[in-house]
């Protein structure tokens, strides 16, 4: 029996020195081959006493299975080593560039419209629309700007007929009229869209974008207007504080009317919104004129509210540092690449307006 233990010890010592599959095979032949050390002991069984035979045979079988198990183990180990070596030789130059990644962009005007929609959606506004071609009534007369009113001269209007009855809307305000004529109060809408004026220079383009706002109910005040615009400007410029100034002005369709300025400063050539002692005109607003409500068949004794109009392109310029208004409309792919937005950057109120 002691011999058997010794043999086992010898065999397992050899296992620990094995280097590869070939040496494993040699060890197998050496132990379990026809003339292997264990095989020889099985042959010896016939010569052993009956009494001892059973016990020896049992021990021998245990040894054999132990060795077989060890052989399997080493076999697996050497196979894995071989595979690993093979894989290590299978190299590629991973620094080679991949094919160009196709990445489209959303125009900054679209992005800003989505941001504005997101903010005003939180305040309970819904989106309304109107056509780009308007009649003279909706664009002017209904908005308390009768023919020959001097305010008409301030809009350089594109006309579509000699009678000047059809035109490209000079502001988004006709959407107020369309909304009020087609639905019952209360009204709480924003209307983003294209607007047109026959004007073109460094700071004016013949087409630009406005966002109209209208909130009419029985009790909407100028204090509500001021509070809501303050909320909007803070959210839009993503600042906690904003210096906002209401300045009296005149629009035929609102009374009282205000122009809204925001404070800003320029430091190291960069504009910071919300601070500083310079003022920047950013939007026009006021309380809807009773004449406009009447023209839109809304009873001014019962209903009142506010309206505002803001230049979307101008907001985009301020927020994203774009200097030239005309560049918005030139489709230069370098500009679109630089100022455009990833299609996944959808402004939301839970994730935030921007990344």
């Amino acid at each position: 029996m002691n011999d058997l233990l010794k043999l086992e010890q010898e065999i397992f010592e050899k296992f620990s020195t094995l280097k590869n599959k070939e040496s494993l095979e040699l060890l197998r032949v050496e132990t379990l081959g026809k003339k292997g050390s264990i095989s020889l002991l099985f042959q010896e069984l016939a010569t052993i006493d009956k009494e001892k035979k059973k016990e020896f045979a049992s021990s021998l079988n245990i040894l054999k299975s132990k060795v077989l198990e060890e052989i399997d183990k080493y076999n697996l180990k050497f196979e894995e080593e071989e595979l690993r070596k093979k894989l290590e030789s299978q190299t590629i130059d991973i620094t080679l560039p991949v094919p160009k990644i196709v990445q489209g962009k959303v125009h900054p005007v679209s992005q800003v419209i989505d941001e504005l929609t997101c903010i005003f959606s939180e305040l309970g506004f819904s989106v309304a629309e109107g056509p780009d071609v308007e009649n003279e009534y909706n664009n002017f007369t209904a908005l308390n700007t009768p023919p020959n009113h001097p305010a008409r001269d301030m809009h350089d209007t594109f006309y579509l007929d000699e009678a000047k009855e059809l035109l490209l809307r000079t502001h988004t305000s006709p959407v107020q009229i369309r909304t009020m004529l087609s639905e019952k109060p209360p009204y709480k809408i924003i209307a983003p869209g294209r607007t047109y004026r026959c004007d073109s220079d460094q700071t004016h383009t013949p087409m630009f974008h406005q966002l109209e706002g209208l909130y009419v109910d029985t009790n909407v005040t100028m204090a509500d207007l001021r509070g809501s615009l303050d909320y909007f400007l803070k959210k839009f410029f993503e600042v906690d504080k904003i210096k906002m100034r209401f300045r009296p002005s005149h629009f035929p369709f609102t009374e009282p009317s205000a122009e809204v300025d925001i404070g800003y400063e320029i430091k190291d050539g960069k504009i910071t919104i919300g601070e500083g002692d310079r003022w920047l005109e950013i939007l026009g607003c006021g309380m809807v004129h009773p004449n406009v409500l009447m023209n839109a068949k809304v009873d001014p004794k019962k209903y009142q509210g506010y309206a505002f109009g803001v230049g979307i392109d101008r907001l985009a310029m301020l927020k994203y540092g774009i200097n030239d208004l005309r560049s918005f409309f030139e489709s230069d792919v370098r500009w679109l690449e630089h100022f455009g937005f990833n299609s996944n950057d959808v402004p939301t109120n839970y994730r935030g307006l921007a990344r």
Binding site: P99, G124, E129, D132, P150, P248
Partner: protein, 796 residues
């Protein structure tokens, strides 16, 4: 409207400085555009001496002057003045100086090859006189290097007056507003009396419906017109007006002072009488601006028995104007219909200070006052005897009364105003106020045509009280409707879906070049007043602008492009005759040559894939799409198509394909293989489904699938889609998928034939398919294809 603090002080007792006044003005709605302090600029004009003037080698009329400007150096200035000569003392302006006459900033310039550092000035360039024939000649004893302007001008405040505030087109009105806001004490103008010492007058006939309501006149005989005295000249100059002669200056002064336009005629040039009437078609007259105007039949004219003297309230006539030699004059002050003035000035293209004021509203009660003030000044400066003031016609003016309920201020603005505050403000603004408990009975002053109802009063109060006092209410977040409707939602989905495909979104004008747009449609939607000839038409297709801008990008050497725009295209001039379309173009290579791939241009199938992807992104079931090989004139007639929902009689969702080569070659874009698509957003209708239907039931088979390949030889014109439909219809429940893996044309399969090879995937929901049923279905497929398309099996 330009004012100075000095002029303002005629009506306002104030201790505020110019900047404080400006701030106050802006805060009450009289927005200050600028305060011009031209002191620094005027100090740039120095007294100098021309040391030597030599002829310019390249130009006969130019001289190169060596000038001593007192800095111990010689400055070279190129000068065109004939009187530039050695030893002349004159005025020098350095580079950077703004020339008063034209507002131009001087820079160092090369004139015919010689650098000129600054300029020698004429009187006209400095707005000193009309003298422009030569440079200023100064006395020899002046000191070189001294400032030419010894006395600096007062800063001028430029105010942008909104169209409703005609009263502030006179300094007096501005002062009144300032005093109401607490900037000082308003000095009420005294009622003046005129001493009549002449019996002369002119007969005035005021015709009905002439466009003039009231016509006031005053005859002054024996005047001696001359240059205005310094105080008057300085008043006018300080706000940028040019003095002309005492009589003209006085009428201008009254206009700017109290918003009362006046006109002075030379009485000796008027025959008989003054007739105020409507013009007759074909009449013409020579105006003071040296232009001849041909009149229509609707202008209000001032005439005598033989000729037109002026356009009422707009401009006087050349013939009847006052000169330095005028001896007898007639002063005119009238009330005109603002609409008539506005129409005439637009039709004739005349813009004057008078028309600007009459259009916005001139106090109808100021006729007499204006005439008295002007006549007194004329008498004082030019002498003469003054006749009686005659006023023809009836004033249309009616006193306006408004009952103002104080509670309505709080209701609209959101905070309370005290009665005493309200009364004080309104009285200072010129209202007569009667206090009746909570109601103020108001009489509106005649100089405020803009005020007619209660809300106008509320505006006056909050404007003067200060907008800063309006509280900031917490926003009310109540909503009445969903933020977006279905159409607006799909707009957003489509926009971001197309961008996710690799397209750059552009925004281009809604109008375009008709030369390009006419390729895409027969509609010609021309603007009456385009901004330029290449932006003369409403677009009927977005492709017009996309291709124009693609070309611009190609010119900048960006030749592989994917651009899209969502916006309106127009099919008529009426409001609403527009459609919302998303259009995209692919230009140049889809895949650029790299170590991995070969160059590949875009094809109609890329455009098709783009359309499919976008429609799937919108939640449209691709199984419900019906593809057709017809499109529209924007596309290649054979290499394009369209897609409908449900059937080819259903809504047209999109067209796509290669853009029409005829158009493309005219635009010289043939090298870049443009393909594109148009998706018609208005045709995408909200599906009728409930929330629970958004995801259908989850049905999958647990049995094995098998694939069988077929190749059919069919007519060349057979559509792949038709073949697929025939096969699918053989057993819609077992056939799960059909893929085309090869399309082949070649002479070995016959002329006008093609081979289409497909792989058909079969799977049952109930059992594992046995060989027999598979074989049966295969045979059915082969025979159906044969009978319905004439196709024969090539191999299986």
């Amino acid at each position: 409207m330009n004012i100075t603090l000095n002029w303002l002080k005629k009506y306002l007792k104030t201790k505020l400085n110019v900047h404080q006044i400006a701030e106050k003005l802006t805060s009450i709605g009289l927005e200050v555009e600028s305060i011009s302090s031209n002191e620094d600029n005027l100090n740039n004009f120095k007294i100098c001496k021309v040391i030597k003037a030599t002829k310019h080698p390249q130009a006969d009329k130019l001289k190169i002057c060596d000038v001593d400007i007192g800095d111990g150096k010689i400055t070279k200035v190129v000068c065109g003045a004939p009187n530039a000569r050695d030893g002349l003392m004159t005025v020098y302006a350095s580079p950077g100086t703004i020339i008063p006459k034209n507002g131009m900033k001087l820079s160092i310039a090369k004139i015919r090859g010689i650098e000129s550092f600054g300029m020698l000035c004429s009187e006209s360039e400095l707005n000193l006189s009309e003298e422009s024939d030569g440079i200023i000649e100064l006395k020899v004893k002046e000191k070189i290097g001294d400032n030419f302007f010894k006395q600096s001008l007062e800063p001028m405040i430029d105010i942008s007056i909104t169209p409703n505030r005609s009263d502030c087109l006179g300094v007096r009105g501005i002062a009144r507003d300032l005093s109401a806001s607490g900037a000082g004490l308003f000095i009420e103008p005294k009622l003046e009396k005129l001493k009549i010492n002449s019996s002369k007058s002119i007969k005035v006939e005021l015709e009905k419906d002439s466009g003039c309501y009231q016509y006031g006149s005053c005859f002054i005989e024996g005047v001696q017109n001359k240059e205005s005295p310094d105080w008057l000249k300085n008043f006018l100059k300080s706000i940028g007006q040019k003095p002309i002669s005492a009589i003209v200056d006085i009428t201008n002064y009254i206009m700017l002072d109290m918003n009362r336009p006046l006109h002075a005629y030379d009485a000796d040039k008027i025959s008989e009488k003054i007739i105020v009437r409507k013009s007759k078609k074909g009449e013409s007259f020579q105006a003071l601006d040296n232009k001849k105007y041909n009149l229509l039949d609707n202008h209000c004219v001032i005439s005598d028995s033989s000729k037109i003297l002026g356009l009422g309230g707009i401009i006087g006539g050349e013939l009847s104007g006052t000169q330095f030699s005028s001896k007898n004059i007639i002063l005119e002050a009238a009330s005109f219909d603002p609409i008539s003035i506005s129409k005439s000035s637009k039709e004739l293209g005349i813009i004057t200070d008078a028309k600007y004021r009459f259009e916005r509203g001139v106090d109808p009660n100021s006729i007499k006052d204006g005439l008295i003030k002007a006549a007194k000044l004329i008498k004082e400066i030019c002498g003469g005897k003054v006749g009686k003031i005659l006023i023809s016609g009836k004033s249309l003016y009616k006193e306006k009364k408004i009952n103002f309920n104080l509670d309505n201020f709080e209701k609209l603005i959101g905070f309370k105003i005290s009665k005493s505050d309200a009364v004080k403000i309104l009285q200072k603004l010129g209202f007569l106020v009667k206090d009746k408990k909570n109601i103020l009975e108001l009489i509106v002053p005649s100089f405020r045509p803009d005020i007619s109802q209660e809300v106008d009063i509320i505006e006056e109060l909050i404007r003067i009280k200060g907008y800063d006092n309006i509280p900031l209410s917490e926003p009310n977040k109540i909503s009445f409707k969903n933020t977006l409707n279905y159409k607006q939602k799909i707009f957003h989905y489509i926009q971001r879906s197309i961008a996710s495909l690799g397209y750059y979104e552009t925004v281009t004008w809604s109008f375009t070049n008709s030369k390009v747009d006419d390729f895409f449609s027969d509609k010609k939607l021309r603007l009456v007043n385009p901004i330029s000839s290449d932006l003369d038409s409403l677009r009927t297709s977005i492709f017009s602008n996309l291709l124009i801008h693609s070309k611009n990008n190609i010119d900048r050497d960006y030749k592989n492009l994917m651009l899209f725009e969502i916006g309106p295209v127009f099919h008529g001039f009426k409001p609403g005759e527009q459609k919302l379309v998303a259009s995209g173009v692919r230009i140049g290579n889809k895949v650029e040559k790299s170590w991995k791939e070969k160059t590949e241009t875009s094809s109609a199938f890329d455009a098709k894939a783009d359309v499919l992807k976008v429609l799937i992104d919108l939640g449209i079931d691709s199984e419900k799409l019906v593809w057709d090989s017809k499109s529209n004139q924007s596309f290649h007639p054979g290499r394009s198509g369209s897609v409908y929902l449900g059937s080819n009689k259903g809504p047209l969702l999109a067209c796509f394909g290669e853009l029409n080569p005829i158009i493309i070659s005219k635009l010289e874009l043939d090298k870049y293989f443009p393909c594109g698509f148009e998706i018609y957003l208005d045709n995408i209708i909200e599906p009728k489904r409930k929330q629970k239907d958004i995801k259908g039931s989850y049905l999958v088979s647990k049995f094995q699938s098998v694939e069988r390949d077929f190749a059919f030889i069919v007519d060349k014109n057979t559509k792949a889609n038709d073949l697929i439909l025939v096969i699918k219809n053989c057993d819609r429940s077992l056939i799960k998928n059909i893929d085309i893996f090869d399309v082949y044309e070649g002479s070995n399969i016959g002329e006008n034939k093609k081979s289409i090879a497909l792989s058909v995937k079969l799977q049952s929901m109930e059992k594992t398919l046995d060989e027999k049923s598979i074989e049966e279905l295969s045979q059915k497929i082969i025979s159906s294809v044969q009978s319905q398309t004439g196709g024969t099996i090539r191999s299986s």
